[in-house]
Symmetry: D2
Subunit: 158 residues, 4 copies
DNA sequence: TTTT
DNA sequence: TTTT
């Protein structure tokens, strides 16, 4: 009787690190920031804004999606589970790192635009990035991204 | 062994309807919209954008917060549970309405501003609406809404 | 900017109703009960146990899994979204019904056993029913279900 | 625009460690185990059962509830957020530990019974542990744990 | 260190 | 209409 569920919405801290293995498997990693607003208590105590960094780990079908679309600054929704793994550091001391293994990743509409000036998330709600990739292939969207560089049909993740 | 958990992020459809009862309890209701982006399948089928309307019900301590701060257009985060209740309509037919009973409501940073031109959600992440109530104090609203107009049957948005 | 997420753990009220369409698609429906324990307030008020019934709708790959394994009484974990649809009743009056469209269904370990006396959920945590179906096919489990009726390899959902 | 949400159901690994501070605040810590069932892939690969340990941190009103009711072996539902903090170890090396700061803790019905033979969770669904605190009153624990032993550096479970 |  |  067990449940291990994490839901995060935040911003990607740097371009994902993608590694391919001989076995054919692939893994993508990236840091994701979530922030809580600061506030001031009635007694005057100031609780400052706090940013939390999460290590996101992506496997299987989602890796290609992440490699192609997720960039530093992207606003993403991540669902997954917590996993803590241990390793021995240079001194032979056991150390631990906690990661979020993503089961689902979707773009979140932040209204922000990538470096090239195009708007990637013009619509409302989630772009069905992660899910769409697994179950269907999409044609040209009704309101296409008019960036000429990325306007070929198979370039679109949704 | 049971769990009934709902997490919504969306926009408020109209100003909350707040009712105070002789017992001293209060209830606030408002419709909340969540939207899924439309998309086009490979076979050409267009799946249009879809907006879902949720009936949010707020009780206890959160009511004053809702009455004061939640407005038509507000972007809010709602956590709660699903409840379906029945009532007899004018024809004596049993009808059902499903509502989301909120355990927690927070403002979501949409960057939008209310009608008076002030910015309510300038920061990042959640405004600690629900939680703040426990740690800071809100003014009692001057004028509870007990307007008879808003109490008619067709006031129900569903 | 939108999220519509439901997480339920409960018991199936009756065997799923599965319908196949000419288009090749299929849909399964079943009622799921979640229960809140009753309790007594400090002032003596008794708040009785309350059972909530949810209409679960399953599509695509999960349908076959549901048809084969989900039965009246099953303890299941359901993740999905809320959807309210309308229809005109016999009198031509528009009526609404709220359903939970499942994105993920898993067995939950209740320790209960089906009518035939076999134990279907012997282990801890989730049986990876829904997910496994989509991504891998499993061999004989390490601790096989020893019900002779259901012991053929392709009978196993995990 | 941010969300940091964790939902866990699992078993408590040892009796909570509760510390009271001069400021009047209190903190409780305990390890929580969540388990995924093992399984065997079609290619024969055995994926063993995996247990994940989470460091749960409880503050404020929930501490007294935890001290009184949560014990080694308890089945609990925890909602909260992920927080990673750093500290310098004996060698002056910066180390990190990830914790789950609980916003809500409830008993989960495991059907298990404590050492004294009484059944604490006889009903279905959650015991309204966290919530009950708001609506009913708990006894003040007779003997707050202020043992100096439990305050040493290697008291850290990670 | 838990649980099934 | 389920479950404890």
């Amino acid at each position: 009787m067990s449940l291990n569920k994490v839901i995060l919405i935040g911003n990607v801290g740097k371009d994902p690190d993608v590694r391919y293995f001989d076995s054919g498997t692939a893994v993508a990693n990236f840091p994701l920031a979530t922030s809580e607003r600061g506030y001031t208590l009635a007694n005057g105590t100031v609780v400052p804004e706090r940013t939390e960094w999460h290590n996101i780990v992506v496997r299987r079908d989602q890796v290609a999606f992440v490699e192609k679309w997720v960039k530093k600054g992207s606003g993403v929704y991540v669902e997954g589970k917590i996993r803590t793994r241990s390793y021995d550091d240079q001194s032979g001391v056991k150390r631990y790192v906690t990661e979020i293994h993503a089961d689902r990743i979707e773009f979140y509409n932040t209204g922000t635009r990538p470096a090239d000036g195009t708007t990637t998330n013009a619509g409302t709600g989630f772009q069905q990035g992660g899910q769409a990739q697994q179950t269907t292939s999409y044609q040209q969207p009704a309101q296409p991204d008019i960036s000429s560089e990325s306007n070929s049909a198979d370039d679109l993740p949704f």
